[in-house]
Symmetry: C2
Subunit: 247 residues, 2 copies
DNA sequence: GCATCGCTTCGGCGCGGGCCGAAGCATCGG
DNA sequence: CCGATGCTTCGGCCCGCGCCGAAGCGATGC
C-alpha cells in the first residue's frame, strides 16, 4: 500500500542502468571521453538503431549529454556525479558472496590502470595515492581526504592548477573507494589535476577506445620506483633549475 | 565488441534495484529497521509469494540480510554502504529535466523528516546540520565533514558516544547530499549518534511502518526555536547541574 | 492430533521492452 | 545534383521476467 514515489523514481533510474547494453555504454563513457553513437554501439555490442534508442533514454534522464558536431553526435557523461554514482554502484556489486566473476584480459588492463571520468583509478592510481599519503602530502580516510600544507606547496611547485574558479564548488580531494582494488584513489579537483599531470608527463597514455590506460616506464618509475622524483617543471625562480624534488 | 565484465556486473546490480517492487522494498528498509517478509510485501504492494522471490534475490546479491526468529524472518539492509548507495542513486534521479514528479502526502512526510538507515534525513536533518555548522561544531562541505574541537567536547558533554570500537572504521562524520533537500545532512557515526540522541530526547519518533519521522514540539524547539538549548544530560562533575548549554 | 499462520516453491499466464530489418532524414563530398 | 555516411524512427518479433493461484513445508497454538 505504501508505495512511495521515491521507490518509483529509484526504480526508473536503476532500471535505466540495469540493461546490459546501456550499462556498457555508461561504463565506456566513464572513461571521460566523448564518443560518437557509432563507437558506443560498437562497444555495447548492439546495432546502431538499438543504441540510438538507448542513448535517447540516457540523455532524457540526464545521465549523459550530447553535442552535435557535423554529422556526428558526441555523447559524454553529464558530470562527475554520474561517474561517482556508477562507481558506487559497481562497488556494491561485490557485496554478495564471492561468486564466479568472469574476468577477461580486457578487465586485467582495466584493473591495472583506467581513467575514471577525469581522474585515474585502478592499481596504479591506488599506489599513487598511497605514495602521496606516505609522504604526508595528503590524508586519505573514509571521512574524505584533504591536502596537507606540505601537499599544497608541493602540488603548486610541480604546476598543478587546483584553483580554477569554475570548479570551485567541486571537492578538492575526494576519496573514491576503488571498485577493483577496494582501496582509496584520489578524485576531485586534485585527482583531475594529477591525471592531467600524468598525461602531460607521459606517465600514462589513453588506449584508444577504452578506459584502460597504458602505464609507461616513466610512469612506473615515478610512482613505484624507489622514490618518486619529479623533475621540477617550471620551478619557481628561487629554486635551482635542476632540482629533483623527491616526494 | 568490447563488452566488459564490469558492464555486466553493473547491469545486474542495477537491474536488481530497477524493479518497482524491489525498489519499494529497499526504500522501506532504508528506514533502518528490520521488517518481516509480510510487512515488506504490504509495502511493496505485491503478493507474499512474489515478495519472497524478490527477497531471495536481494539476499543473494548481498544487499539485504535476514535473521530468522520464530516463524518470522526479519530482513534488513546489510549495511550503511547499501543505504548510501541507494541515496546516491536517488540523488541521480533528478539530474534530468524537472519532470512531473508525483508527490503524495506520504512523500511530504518523508521530505520533512525521515530516517536514513541509522541517521536522519529530510528538512529537519538538514536544518539540524546547518545549525551545528553555524555554531562551529562541525564543518560540512563537498569534501566531507569533520567535527571541530568545540564540537568534540560538546558532543561528549551531551553524552554522544562517538568512539565505539566496533564502528571504528566507519566515517565519523559523513556529508550526505539530501535527495529531497539537495543540501547536506550528517551521516556516519556522528549522524547515528545524533539520531539516537534525538530519539532518546523525544525530538522525533518513528512512525510505525514508514521511514517518516514525527517531529515533536520539543524537537522543533531544539533545532529551530531560537537557540538549541540542550539540558545537560549527565554533565561532567565540574559543571553545574542545571546548566543549559546553548549551542 | 488438527488448525492456523508465515513463508517458500512450482507452473503457467501475460506484458513490457530490448532487438533487428527496413525506411526516413540530415550532413558531407564530389 | 547524386551517392555515401551517420543517425533516427517505425513495425513487428520474441525472450525474459514479474505476477499470481495452488500446493508444500516448518513453526506455533489448542
Amino acid at each position: 500500500m505504501t508505495r512511495f514515489a521515491s521507490g518509483l523514481t529509484l526504480a526508473t533510474t536503476a532500471s535505466l542502468i540495469g540493461d546490459v547494453a546501456r550499462a556498457n555504454i555508461l561504463c565506456t563513457l566513464t572513461g571521460g571521453q566523448a564518443l560518437t553513437a557509432g563507437e558506443l554501439a560498437h562497444h555495447a555490442g548492439v546495432s546502431a538503431q538499438t543504441t540510438s534508442g538507448h542513448l535517447a533514454k540516457l540523455v532524457d534522464a540526464g545521465l549523459i549529454t550530447v553535442v552535435k558536431q557535423g554529422r556526428h553526435r558526441y555523447f559524454k557523461l553529464s558530470g562527475p556525479r554520474v561517474a561517482d554514482m556508477l562507481e558506487t554502484l559497481m562497488g556494491a556489486a561485490d557485496l554478495g558472496p564471492a561468486r564466479h566473476r568472469p574476468v577477461g584480459p580486457r578487465d586485467e588492463a582495466l584493473r591495472r590502470a583506467r581513467s575514471c571520468y577525469d581522474h585515474m583509478a585502478g592499481r596504479y592510481a591506488v599506489e599513487l595515492a598511497a605514495r602521496l599519503e606516505d609522504r604526508g602530502l595528503v590524508v586519505l580516510s573514509d571521512e574524505g581526504g584533504y591536502v596537507t600544507e606540505q601537499g599544497s606547496s608541493f602540488f603548486a611547485l610541480i604546476g598543478l592548477d587546483l584553483d580554477q574558479p569554475a570548479a570551485r564548488r567541486r571537492p578538492l580531494c575526494r576519496c573514491c573507494l576503488d571498485w577493483s582494488e577496494r582501496r582509496f584513489h584520489i578524485g576531485g579537483r586534485l585527482g583531475a589535476a594529477l591525471f592531467a599531470h600524468a598525461e602531460r608527463e607521459n606517465w600514462v597514455a589513453r588506449l584508444p577506445g577504452s578506459r584502460a590506460l597504458r602505464v609507461t616506464r616513466k610512469g612506473e618509475q615515478a610512482v613505484s620506483g624507489g622514490s618518486w622524483r619529479c623533475e621540477a617543471v617550471e620551478p619557481p625562480a628561487a629554486l635551482p633549475r635542476a632540482l629533483a624534488i623527491s616526494v
